[in-house]
């Protein structure tokens, strides 16, 4: 979801620094301990929901106060790294499962295994817990997740007489390619249209997670050992994207440099019929789409012979963790349990336009509604699994140094499949070898 930035290297330099005691929590005038909750909520409704929950907790629990601290997705890793090293980390941390690995292995996060109350444990299915479990411990409570979906221009698809896929009857990748061809026409002027636009500014997580749909994985783990493979099943989706951009011309090459939101103006203008995007982008579509624009949320295509019918999709959920230096871990986990009660989880999910992990929350009528594609997310949620990248040490380095440039070169046609495979596997495995043991 995010790339590690420049502080990664500083961690080693600071390792010898004195680790100061005490967590970020302090006390108020009445002597009541205060826990800092670093929240990354950023959308209006989500921030409001988080703040309301903190206020409700502070009303109901006179023994422990929680203070809402606003953070930002763009720099949370650096912020946390510095504050962990300096011994002044927030007590309760909102982050993403992908980002927990280094902190979990580094001893910065508390292992929540023995602290999670039974009802919270039951509320969230085992597959979701698996996304934050590594190194023999549970380092976060996964509470919101973002599957990838196809957002499509319904009018265009209807006009072409194309049957819309459902999770029960999804498109295969082959069918998807055919549909993209049917919807593409290159004419002079503004009437030109591509079947699909692949936003590949950050190509690695997308490629890794989508490879599950064809029975691939790319990042393979065997105990402590991580190995990159890029066999036919691993590379099938990557090959398809390249084919669409370079050979079929059913996807614009300009999309390769775009972030998800960048494709939306072209989508609204009819330049692209479909855009594969994260589930939360529906909010921007709903807000920004011109009047009368009819859009629909569809499940991603599947590999015909893949396990789980190809519906499996890797995700890295949003998590709530507790700092290891927190002096009130039990209260911190109780707060997390409070935040993730079913009705509150639904509110948080709606605020962020994401899918909740909780089984009961997934049955809530606000989430199962067809409006704005919510029900598609619920249907897809049954097949979400931990991204192969989760809990893998060295993954950020591989992603930044090897996989991102290599995939970008491959997608825009600068290198072929053989060279891509060589870079990802040979150069990549050298990196993972350094992290072993």
């Amino acid at each position: 979801m995010r790339r590690r930035t420049f502080l990664g290297g500083a961690a080693g330099a600071a390792a010898s620094a004195t680790l100061l005691t005490a967590c970020g929590g302090s006390g108020d005038d009445s002597g009541r301990p205060t826990l800092d909750f670093l929240s990354l909520a950023w959308q209006k409704e989500s921030v409001a929901a988080n703040k309301a929950l903190v206020a409700a907790w502070n009303r109901e629990r006179p023994d422990v106060r929680v203070r809402y601290v606003q953070g930002s997705w763009n720099n949370v890793h650096d912020q946390l790294l510095t504050s962990f090293e300096g011994g002044a980390a927030p007590d309760i941390i909102h982050d993403e499962a992908n980002d927990l690995t280094d902190f979990g292995y580094g001893g910065d996060l508390a292992d929540l295994s023995g602290l999670i109350p039974a009802d919270l444990k039951k509320r969230i299915p085992a597959t979701a817990w698996g996304t934050a479990t590594f190194n023999g411990g549970v380092y976060g409570v996964p509470f919101l997740q973002e599957p990838r979906v196809l957002i499509a221009n319904r009018t265009v698809l209807d006009k072409a007489g194309i049957r819309l896929p459902t999770v029960e009857r999804p498109w295969t990748w082959d069918r998807f390619e055919d549909v993209a061809k049917e919807l593409t026409h290159h004419r002079r002027g503004t009437d030109s249209r591509y079947g699909v636009a692949w936003a590949m500014k950050e190509p690695v997580n997308q490629t890794v997670n989508m490879s599950l749909s064809t029975g691939g994985k790319i990042v393979h783990r065997d105990g402590d050992r991580t190995e990159i493979r890029f066999d036919a099943a691993d590379s099938a989706v990557a090959e398809l994207i390249r084919r669409q951009v370079k050979s079929d011309r059913t996807a614009p090459s300009s999309g390769l440099g775009m972030g998800g939101g960048d494709t939306l103006p072209g989508f609204f203008a009819g330049h692209y019929a479909m855009v594969p995007l994260g589930f939360s982008y529906r909010q921007q579509v709903e807000q920004q789409a011109p009047d009368g624009f009819d859009w629909v949320t569809l499940p991603m295509p599947v590999g015909a012979k893949a396990p789980d019918g190809g519906l499996a999709q890797g995700v890295s959920p949003q998590t709530l963790s507790v700092s290891r230096s927190c002096a009130h871990k039990k209260a911190a986990v109780e707060f997390i349990a409070f935040m993730t009660r079913t009705q509150d989880l639904v509110r948080l999910a709606r605020g962020d336009w994401l899918v909740p992990t909780g089984s009961a929350a997934l049955r809530d009528p606000h989430i199962t509604t067809d409006k704005d594609g919510w029900s598609t997310g619920v249907d897809v949620a049954g097949h979400l699994t931990a991204s192969p990248a989760l809990g893998v040490r060295g993954y950020p380095e591989w992603m930044d140094k090897i996989a991102t440039p290599a995939l970008q070169q491959y997608y825009n046609g600068a290198i072929g499949l053989g060279e891509l495979r060589g870079k990802l596997v040979r150069d990549g495995n050298r990196i993972f070898d350094r992290y072993r043991g």
Binding site: T18, S72, E202, G260, G266
Partner: protein, 290 residues
């Protein structure tokens, strides 16, 4: 027989001068447009509706201007409080940096020795340190003196961070003041301190103002130290608050972000407008003394 060319007709000379001036003005206009475009675009974005922001054909001016983005930005984040924090931090850091840098620059220029040479070299070297190298040690030091999560702590960091460049800038201005002026003042019985106050400082005024502006802008825009060192929501500065409009994977609440950015530039612009007058005043004063 004289070989001198006849004098050029005055009309041709004046036409050439007019063409030169037109070219200069044209270049100036291009430069101003280049500089002003991002600000104008930001201003235009701040007043656009979500539909206009999502349009593939961007409009220069909002078709249906709305204040909703400003309302939403002010609703979502404590912009006024954070602007006040930024103003306090940036102003104090700028004033302190310049106050410390003036005598230091004077000494470095007027008392050349091995120490000042080494000091000058160190100033250059210190500018090469990346944030990454100093942030964690700095964090630990400030933690030990209980200055984490405090505006004074951040001000100290900004002063230390600004000082080398402020010193470097001021050195140039001090060098430009002829030492003979001070010698003349000394002949009239003025002490070195008096000469510094009454002769050098007025001549340095444009340099002081320029350095003050530079220090203010650096502190006003700085993000990473503020992010890491300030924890309490009520103490966060504007640059940190602006990132709260950004989501994961580059998603952004574009309208409110643009509106908040417009609001964030206002105090800075006012500061500049105020100081610019001083800058001109200082130049005039220098001219008279010189």
């Amino acid at each position: 027989m004289s070989t001198a060319l006849p004098p050029r007709p005055a009309r041709r000379r004046s036409a050439k001068r007019a063409a030169g001036r037109t070219g200069q003005y044209l270049a100036l206009v291009c430069y101003l447009v280049f500089l002003g475009f991002p600000l104008l675009w930001l201003l235009s974005t701040a007043f656009k509706s979500p539909q206009e922001l999502g349009s593939v054909d961007p409009t220069w001016l909002p078709v249906h201007p709305t204040l909703e983005n400003f309302r939403s930005a002010l609703d979502q984040q404590p912009l006024v409080r954070s602007a006040l924090n930024s103003l306090i931090v940036a102003s104090v850091a700028a004033v302190v940096s310049v106050t410390v840098a003036v005598p230091a620059a004077y000494v470095m220029v007027r008392f050349r020795s091995m120490v000042t040479k080494v000091g000058t070299g160190w100033i250059l070297v210190s500018q090469m340190f990346p944030f990454v190298l100093i942030i964690i040690p700095l964090f630990l030091v400030l933690k030990n003196v209980h200055l984490i999560d405090s505006l004074p702590g951040l001000i100290i960091v900004y002063v230390v961070w600004n000082l080398p460049f402020a010193l470097w800038m001021l050195q140039g201005y001090v060098k430009a003041v002829p030492a003979s002026l001070e010698e003349a003042a000394a002949m009239d019985g003025a002490s070195r301190l008096r000469a510094l106050r009454s002769v050098v400082l007025p001549l340095l005024m444009p340099g002081l103002v320029a350095t003050l502006m530079f220090s203010f802008v650096t502190a006003w825009n700085e993000f990473f130290f503020a992010l890491v060192l300030l924890k309490s929501p009520e103490k966060q500065t504007m640059s940190v608050i602006l990132t709260h409009f950004l989501g994961a994977e580059g998603a952004a609440d574009l309208g409110p972000l643009a509106a908040a950015s417009v609001l964030a530039t206002v105090p800075s612009l006012l500061f500049f407008a105020f100081l610019q007058r001083r800058l001109v005043g200082g130049m005039m004063s220098g001219a008279v003394k010189g």
